[in-house]
Symmetry: C2
Subunit: 202 residues, 2 copies
């Protein structure tokens, strides 16, 4: 199944090029397992979720560590019928039969509990989109129930859910939302915004 | 039908607060027809597409006019079954029977042809998500065909379509994609990135 993201990093500073190029080193441990292509709007990162989400987390954390207000924005997708498959995306996380919703919530909660501490306070919001099925809202409500028990739930907003916590747990929760909800072979996407060091009060 | 967006503006400058607060004046002509709420991650803008998209266009254009590298990012949604309806969203653009795809493409092309010139060179990319139907890819391919003939088509990218042109035509094309594709009463979303003044070559 083809999976990956179009990712952009926005440092709100005159030295945005320096912050971005500095943060890119955080992708080095993942480069062999990802296909990465950059243009003037975004960087395409193709690869399986268990590599993609830690890579996004570490890229975001490296930018946040500069202390500048930085935002990572990503359009993340799996199973789009219009995309050719790619061997680099092979993963044990997707495919197989669809397990009961409660089983998947428990698995998602266990994944967040295992997340490493990245010492990066993170404010994030995301929307989960499930395509090609008539029951997409059941999957989305199931995901929201998982998020409310995940330890990083912030609040429900119009069109999205807000998460607050360390980047480790926040990105683990988003990865679990992406992999565990919607049909295992289905077309599922996430619209993600992760923010660090905003001067604006919540 | 409830419609609106979570919108963020990212000026890549130390004076990002000044650029954002300056650009917000561009929303003034639209404020009576929109509901606007801001937090530290994004601004919720609720209202009908024919007000929302021009408001986004003018907000983006005002920020771009500073000459700084600025990005507007938005999660735009209509018809989400989880959102209550709101009178402010009433619009003649949505609802009614679903017309043939070719009729809708022609209407979308006419809308782009009527777009005003905003004198704002814009590089944008967006993904259209159609939920709750089994034929979502037919709608998406229909939309891509419209975009290829719109005059602002850039190229197909993984997970999204790139547009290049003046902000007037680019935002008109995205509004037409949002309103004309997917069922008139359906749940349709767009993940939008619009960029100005990037120092990175295409």
């Amino acid at each position: 199944m083809f999976s990956g993201a179009q990712v952009s990093l926005y440092p709100m500073t005159d030295d945005f090029v320096g912050v971005i190029t500095g943060a890119l080193a955080a992708l080095d441990p993942y480069r062999e397992r990802l296909r990465i292509e950059t243009d003037d709007i975004s960087t395409l990162i193709v690869g399986p979720p268990e590599v993609l989400f830690p890579a996004l987390r570490d890229l975001f954390s490296a930018a946040a560590a500069t202390g500048r207000h930085c935002v990572l924005s990503a359009a993340i997708s799996r199973g789009c019928p219009g995309e050719p498959d790619d061997e680099i995306c092979a993963t044990p996380l997707l495919g197989g039969p669809r397990e009961p919703l409660e089983t998947r919530k428990d698995a998602a909660l266990a994944e967040v509990a295992r997340a490493p501490d990245k010492a990066t306070p993170t404010a994030a919001q995301f929307s989960l989109y499930v395509m090609g099925t008539g029951d997409h809202m059941d999957e989305i409500y199931g995901c929201i129930d998982f998020l409310k028990r995940s330890g990083v739930f912030g609040r429900s907003k119009n069109f999205c859910t807000r998460l607050d916590g360390d980047a480790g747990a926040v990105f683990a929760a988003i990865e679990a939302a992406f992999c565990r909800f919607g049909p295992p072979e289905g077309h599922v996407t996430i619209d993600l915004t992760a923010s660090a060091n905003s001067p604006t009060p919540r």
